[in-house]
Amino acid sequence: MVDPRNAPDQHFIDALRRRFPCEAEIDRVLTAKLKQRGRPDYRRESLDEVVAGIERLLRHHLDDEFTITNPGWLGGGASKIQVAFHLDWQDRETARSRDLVLRMEPPASIVETSRTREFEALTTVAGIVPVPECFWVDAEGAFLPHPGLVYARATGVTRPSKRPLGQVSGIGTNFGPELRPVLGRQFVRHLAAIHTVAPERLAQMTAFDGVPVGSNASIIRQVNWWRRVWEEDRLEAQPLVEIAARWLRENAPALDHVSLVHGDYRAGNFLYDEESEQITAWLDWELAVLGDRHQDLAWLTGAHFGHYAEDGTTFLASGLLPVSELLERYEQASGLTVDPARLRFFRVYNDFASTVHMLGTACRVARQGSTHQDVLVAWLAMIGPGIAAGLRATLEELL
């Protein structure tokens, strides 16, 4: 039995595009992914090759001379290649000097996303919440070996340096009882600010399709996105995914307010300064969508990103605040309501999407050997059974 997903032909790609319509930029990225698949095995570019790509990108954007120094691979994150470097350059009349980061796609990723959308999301929230200053984007890899963006290197840590290491990718981070409330208050305030970005500002995000209030069309489009990815990436079929997708389509609520949704808002995706205890940057905006705030709320209160407090009974969402306190503070800060029914819908949605990422895409890209950290991707895939089991149990109650 030959799997058409190993080297998809045009007929296979066209059929999926028709069956699962999604946003234009998402469609472009997913289609490019499939066309790339089946090419020879991944070879990781050397640091020199990546730096040469950065130089090509900078020559395109800068009129004057520039100097790159101290380039080096950067750890952290499960889906993108990151290179830190220092840049001295002339910006019109001003001499500038910054520590920067190139965030570049590997040939295949645990989530296939758009650098243009990530760049737009970051620039939209700049000045509203702390994010790295964005400089340049190479949306289609015209200069870099693969699509990527360049932003300022933010300072700070993702977890207390004096506490034991948690899981990979910031999962289950324990900040300790003193730091929790301090970070927790900022965590909620920033989320509220992101979810209430002014509509005229959101309208400037051209890589995101319009999202009408009063309709569930955009949410069904999001379901289609991940259902399509499942069909593109899975190594084996799983009736659970189809049951979940059908339930989600049939129960998608109409949108009551358009929010910028981060898509991966949790501990591990923000940096903070250990001395001032202030959050210095929100990272990883690649899954951002215009949609329903409950998607982020369901995600950050999920079981796998939190842990129990020292009393053994109080569950701390994202390791920061008890769920009820977090949601209360969110309502106060945002002026938006939290609807338990929508929260439940997006718990199913998030578990559905995570099941696709972990049991579908992670296994596919690790088998292809097409990332810079296949061993990490294959390790993360082992989150999948637990999430899928939770999805099954929830659907059993809802069907």
């Binding site: 691979w73 990979v168 079929a237 009736p239 659970l240 950290q373 059974p385 899928a388």
Partner: protein, 179 residues
């Protein structure tokens, strides 16, 4: 004698742990993290390697139990029915190899997913519920198999993997863990 798989794995783990890991530049976080993960992965492979044949048998039996849950009587003479018959024949044959069992299981899963997608709206909820109940043992098995990765603390409360693999399809019941 040539070194067996267990020996080859154990010497590889020792080399990575005692020689390679200490030699990595502490500033190279990516290399350090990947070496730790490689060691953990090899440890897991070493524990699971002897169980592969039993795993293939058990997973095929679970897929057949799920297929049973989708049998509405109206699906005879279909691709689903054919895949199910084939899988049953492979499961019933004591000489079936691991690859053969895996192929039969994959083909059956493919047809089950298609059947769910095509089922009319008025029958979806009932069929979905039945299928969800039937897939629990397989998901519990996968959770237990991946438990040492540490992402799913409740999975360690499931029965031991040897116990789960020795269950016959007839008595492959759910477990004390709620989900």
């Amino acid at each position: 004698m040539i070194p067996d798989l267990e020996l080859q794995l154990s010497v590889t783990i020792k080399a990575l742990r005692d020689v390679v890991l200490p030699a990595i530049n502490p500033g190279n976080g990516v290399a350090t993290e990947q070496t730790h993960l490689a060691l953990a992965t090899l440890g897991m492979v070493r524990a699971h390697l002897p169980l592969r044949q039993k795993l293939a048998q058990t997973e095929l039996n679970h897929a057949l139990a799920m297929a049973q849950s989708l049998d509405t009587g109206a699906t005879a003479e279909t691709a689903f029915a054919a895949a199910r018959e084939r899988a049953k024949a492979v499961a019933d044959n004591p000489a079936s190899g691991q690859d053969e069992m895996e192929m039969a299981r994959l083909a059956l899963l493919e047809e089950m997913e298609r059947l769910i997608a095509d089922v009319p709206t008025d029958r979806f909820a009932a069929l979905g519920r039945s299928c969800l109940a039937a897939m629990k043992p397989q998901l519990d098995l996968q959770r237990r198999w991946a438990a040492d990765a540490g992402f799913d603390p409740e999975a360690t409360g499931l029965p031991a993997i040897d116990e789960m693999l020795s269950q016959s399809p007839a008595n492959a019941k759910g477990t004390p863990v709620s989900r």
